[in-house]
């Protein structure tokens, strides 16, 4: 491979990646203008227009944004500024924007916004800035300038209907392997596959079988101890994650959502319980359903937080020994602002932990983990700036003085682990399920008990 000359490197914006650069190279001015106008005319309507015309350019959304706060109040990171630097200009110039402009637009929409919707709570008019950033990503997708790593996960979704290129036999094999391991401790434990008419379809994101199979083990032990009638699908549709939702590849996003609901429908389950992932929850509860034309999901969709709450309050799982380390709880945007589960999460934490300290701000107002919304999925090239862009989270975490940080979302979990290491916070990052598993009575379930 030829080394790029120093000159060329200088011209590029820092950390731009080959998919973006390659995509930009292929574009013509005509294609840029045509694509932008097509999206604006065909896929948007009065909603966007009203947002643009209602915004008073007051800048009050700035205080909501962890990027703005982490970068010493740099105005270019303010939510409205991100809109100004992207969609406003596309509208003003009727799609006649340059490649340099687009390079920046990719960066802003994919890497400087977690689409966490905190800014909508700080805009006096409740303007949905995340919607506009996702629209910019949609345009970038249609122009084929999506960052490489996240595009790769979408390609995987497209081919395998899961995010991690997990092949069908690997998926089943992993579940059977977890079942076999667990049976050494719990004699009748099963991970029932394709059990028609089960009460619950349990569903995870593809990184669980790929890297964190232990989480499936833990979930199986909980289901077993609680005596739940549950199942997991062996067929595509088992993965509830949806990265296409974040790249604006709505067509693939819709395919993923449809396959997921179809798996549940084929199994005739009563409801869907999901593991600790926020974006997956958003994709099933809030986004995918809309794309396939259901106002609300056709199944009851339950996030792990809610499910744990149910197991504990109904006494299906008992805590043997309370967790005594000092813990704090991160509210993932997609299940707190996205589903109002923050209070239940606190109740669960208080049921199992003796020393809980809250972050400030918390609940709907919690700072984003800086990883969600597809940002961490843009991959290692951007990790450094992700750390800089989320200093405010590190400060917030540090102020709690907690030993253990509970992050009940995969994206948050990974992002916060990076932050904890980068800022040397001396904290252990755990899923809520990890702590429940550690403290629960590991009962061997006997039918009828």
């Amino acid at each position: 491979m030829q080394e790029p000359s120093a000159m060329e490197t200088k011209k590029m914006e820092k950390n731009t990646d080959p998919a973006v650069e390659g995509g930009l190279e292929r574009l013509t001015q005509e294609k840029i203008t045509k694509t932008i106008n097509e999206v604006l005319e065909k896929e948007t309507g009065i909603r966007l227009k009203t947002y643009v015309e209602t915004c008073m350019r007051c800048g009050l959304c700035s205080d909501a944004c962890s990027y703005f706060l982490s970068n010493d109040r740099d105005p270019s990171y303010s939510p409205a500024a991100k809109v100004k630097q992207t969609i406003w200009e596309m509208i003003d110039k009727k799609g006649k924007v340059s490649k340099d402009f687009l390079r920046r637009a990719v960066h802003i929409s994919h890497l400087e916004c977690n689409v966490c919707r905190r800014c909508s709570m700080y805009c006096p008019f409740g303007i949905d800035i995340a919607y506009m950033m996702l629209l910019v990503r949609r345009i970038c997708h249609k122009l084929e300038i999506t960052p490489q790593y996240i595009q790769d996960t979408v390609n995987s979704h497209s081919v395998t209907l899961n995010q991690m290129w997990v092949k069908e036999d690997e998926w089943i094999d992993t579940l059977q392997w977890q079942e076999e391991d667990a049976r050494e401790e719990f004699e009748d434990l099963r991970i029932p596959l394709d059990k028609e008419g089960a009460d619950i379809m349990y569903s995870v994101i593809a990184p669980e079988p790929k890297f964190q199979a232990g989480l499936i083990y833990q979930a199986a032990v909980m289901m077993h101890a609680a005596g739940m009638n549950w199942t997991m699908p062996s067929m595509p549709g088992w993965d509830n994650s949806n990265m296409a939702m974040y790249t604006g590849d709505n067509e693939i996003s819709g395919r993923i959502a449809r396959t997921f609901y179809e798996a549940a429908a084929n199994l005739k389950v009563k409801r869907i319980v999901m593991g600790e992932c926020g974006h997956a929850f958003r994709s099933i509860y809030d986004v995918g359903n809309r794309w396939v034309s259901w106002a609300m999901p056709p199944f009851e969709v339950v996030h792990a937080l809610e499910f744990y709450h149910e197991l504990l309050t109904q006494g299906r799982i008992t805590i043997k020994e309370n967790y005594t380390k000092k813990v704090t709880l991160h509210d993932p945007c997609n299940v707190s602002r996205g589903r109002g589960l923050h209070d239940k999460a606190r109740e669960v934490v208080n049921m199992i932990c003796t020393d809980f300290v809250d972050m400030v701000p918390n609940r709907e107002h919690n700072y984003c983990c800086g990883a969600g919304g597809g940002v961490i999925n843009c991959g290692p090239p951007y990790k450094g700036e992700r750390m800089v862009n989320n200093r405010v989270k590190a400060e917030q975490l540090k102020a709690t003085g907690a030993e253990v940080l509970i992050a009940p979302c995969h994206n948050c979990h990974s992002g916060l682990e990076d932050i904890v290491h980068h800022y040397e916070l001396d904290m252990e990052v755990k899923f809520l399920g990890d702590i429940i598993f550690e403290t629960m009575e590991k009962k061997v379930y006997k039918q009828g008990e």
Partner: protein, 219 residues
């Protein structure tokens, strides 16, 4: 000259008020129609309860967390918006004009109070303009248009104030006052001033999404 003054104090008042009211009605009707045409899903998420809950929460001074983080801005903004409606509607001189024309009247604001409120409005506009120049994140978003909008509000209040105190060129002051007041009414439906009617709509939608779908609060 007198003919001109008669015109701007007579038919022109009617015309501008009609443009203001009809313009806003048509604006809302247009939004509703276009939502129905292309984005009808919006209606399936909106509920009256969550819309009003959100709008209500944001009307209570310093109830939303965001407003407590910017206490100075919101304090100025609340008072400014209140005075903006109270002064023109309850100014004794305006009420007298209406009474002469239609023989209806309502209680007037004490002239001294109205005077003070006008100064408050002018000062608030100065604050908004200053913020646009001095606060980096606001400056980044600001264009000439924003100063024009501030000027458009300033003009009728400032000239009204100067005319009332007969500082100089009374007749001209009055003409500018009347014209600029009418102009402001006319441009409301066609400019970002229309946030007086669109902001409750965007708030209602966000409030519904947060409350109805996401079971969370948006304040």
């Amino acid at each position: 000259m007198n003919g001109f003054i008669d015109f701007i104090m007579g038919p022109m008042v009617w015309i501008s008020v009609m443009i203001f009211i009809v313009g806003l009605i048509l604006k809302v009707a247009g939004i509703v129609r276009k939502v129905r045409e292309k984005e009808s899903y919006i209606f399936s998420y909106m509920t009256l309860y969550h819309s009003l809950r959100s709008i209500g929460a944001w009307l209570i001074p310093f109830f939303p967390r965001a407003t407590r983080q910017q206490p100075v801005f919101y304090a100025v903004s609340y008072i400014f918006h209140l005075a903006l409606f109270v002064v023109p509607l309850f100014l004794s001189a305006h009420i007298v004009l209406v009474e002469e024309a239609f023989n209806v009247s309502w209680p007037a604001l004490n002239d001294g109070v109205a005077d003070i409120l006008t100064v408050v409005i002018v000062a608030a506009l100065g604050f908004f303009a200053g913020r646009r120049i001095l606060v980096p994140e606001v400056k980044f978003l600001t264009s000439v248009k924003d100063f024009f909008l501030i000027f458009m509000v300033l003009l009728p209040f400032l000239t009204g104030f100067l005319a009332y105190h007969q500082v100089a060129a009374y007749e001209w002051m009055m003409i500018v006052h009347i014209l600029s007041g009418e102009l402001m009414l006319i441009i409301i439906p066609f400019s970002r001033f229309s946030h007086m009617i669109t902001a409750p709509l965007t708030r209602a939608y966000m409030g519904s999404e947060f409350g109805n779908v996401r079971h969370a609060r948006d304040w």
